[in-house]
Amino acid sequence: MNTATELAAHVRSGDQSASVALAEALGSIADSDHDINAFLHLTRDRAEQQALAIDQAVAAGTDPGPLAGVPIAIKDNMCTRGEPTTCSSKILEGWRPPYDATVISRLEAAGAIIVGKTNLDEFAMGSSTENSAFGATRNPHDLSRVPGGSSGGSAAAVAAGYVPLSLGSDTGGSIRQPAALCGVVGVKPTYGAVSRYGLIAFASSLDQIGPFATNVTDAALCYDVIAGHDPLDATSIPIEQASTLATLGDGVAGMRIGIIDELCGEGIDADVIARTHEAADALRAAGATVETVSIPATIYGLAAYYLIAPAEASSNLARFDGVRYGQRVDGVNVAAMNVATRSAGFGDEVKRRIMLGTYALSSGYYDAYYGKAQKVRSLISDEFATAYKSFDLLLSPTSPSTAFKIGAKSDPMALYMCDVCTIPSNLAGHPALSVPFGAGDDGLPIGVQVLAPMLDEAKMFRAAKVLEDAAGGQS
């Protein structure tokens, strides 16, 4: 398969037809997705129309844009007008949104072709994509293992080679962790850098949309397309960032990079820690100075996150009441209908988090749970700010382990631990990405995480490119 960068160049020059590239992508999905289950729904008609329009534009001498003819898969929690958007939940089965998310409009305006909607843990709550009302997704590297989650379908779609790009959403690691487990690049941008208009909200102060790609260059290309201010999202930062693609090859010479000590110890597998230290060596070899840095509050991130995210979710998911969209189970009055609809429509993990959040926000407990968690959030944010006075970037593992077996983590808390390295960036609102760096003792992919200060995606991508080149040189 061509990279997105190569494919767009070939389509723009007229050397390759977007319609043919789309047919190949749909063909590979038809051939093997019954095993992997990355896709919930294909947007075939819309994709074919878009591909035809791009081929016609090229024939007419018009430039269709930087992602011309590139097939892309979309996590099924982003609205696509007239196409199913389920959040992998029965409660939204059959619903077809009356509008497109801003990222969808931006991708299509740049020439990309939306091929379908990918599986996720219900309402993006999970770390394995086992928790979907429409069945688990399997890891393309080993079908007995999970792809990670919650954006497991989007990670698997890229890892399986169906499409060169996909979009996920990351609330506590839901792009980076599946990227690590599937051996692809996954990017969580700065909070507010990419519009969330049309992203079905899970935890509004944490959610961010970002790309998956097979390589760092494609990820930067896609990021540049989807980033930027959007007046339809009140949390969108009103500035324009410089192109990250333009400075991608500038290297890390002279950069100061810190390895987060607290995320390289207990609870993290030895092979994952070893690859992280090798990644540090690769950055040193490229001219960066790398030192250990202590950010003690990061170890409290998990506890704070599992109060804040459910609290926000309990509020956001109140809208699924059987009145305006999706499924309804009838009742004698509105309240009975609400209860019947929500009890039948939500899965167990969603119910667990709604109840946890409702409890954390309830009278008498608010200060002790939600209020305290918000203070811990300040602590983590302040400690990051202090670290960034001495360092340009930070480095850590992405996931504590390689991909685990389907069904291996049936206890909710065991699954929550998967997010320990990724959650701090969401709480602080900072960008972070996962880039593949070698393999574990079991031969499965390992990712390392590059963390950057707010809006410093350009530097983050530069370091990721150095790591990608070094990892490629090793094999």
């Binding site: 619903w95 077809r96 009356p98 700065t190 909070y191 507010g192 102060s205 007046p231 009140a234 949390t235 930062i237 506890a303 599992y306 109060l307 309990s314 109140a318 059987g322 009145v323 305006r324 969209y325 009742g331 004698v332 009055n333 509105v334 309240a335 009975a336 209908m337 209860v339 019947a340 929500r342 009890s343 167990d348 119910k351 667990r352 709604i354 109840m355 946890l356 409702t358 409890y359 309830s362 200060d367 002790a368 749970y369 209020g371 305290k372 968690a373 918000q374 203070k375 811990v376 300040s378 602590l379 944010s381 206890d411 909710p412 808390m413 929550y416 709480l427 602080a428 609102g429 707010m454």
Partner: protein
């Protein structure tokens, strides 16, 4: 069956002790408009206890002088100019509702029993 719920036995529950009782879970479920079976109540009570025990780790931190943080980027009062712009098409929106009638969402009676 409080025995089977172990650490979540009902008495003397304090905030941040990592305990939530079966009755409290039932109350929270009703607030959230969820109906749980007896078995679900047992399971969820145990599971929520484990998560809340982890949350109790935060008790070891001195947070008296720390300000709470609600969101990462300090935007406030985001307004747009007062211009009329197209909104979603009403028929397209209502076509996706479970039940619609006369340009509105239709729901069961809000008060009392259905006729």
């Amino acid at each position: 069956m409080a025995d089977s719920i172990g650490i979540c036995d009902h008495q003397n529950v304090h905030p941040m002790s990592g305990e939530i009782s079966r009755d409290e879970v039932a109350h929270v479920a009703s607030l959230a408009r969820l109906r749980l079976s007896e078995d679900e109540l047992d399971t969820f009570t145990k599971q929520l206890c484990v998560v809340l025990e982890t949350a109790a780790d935060l008790n070891s931190l001195d947070l008296d002088d720390v300000e709470p943080m609600a969101q990462p980027y300090p935007l406030a009062n985001v307004l747009r100019s007062d211009e009329i712009i197209p909104s979603l098409d009403r028929d397209e929106v209502l076509a996706q509702a479970p039940v619609a009638e006369d340009g509105r969402f239709r729901v069961p009676p809000a008060l009392g029993e259905a006729p």
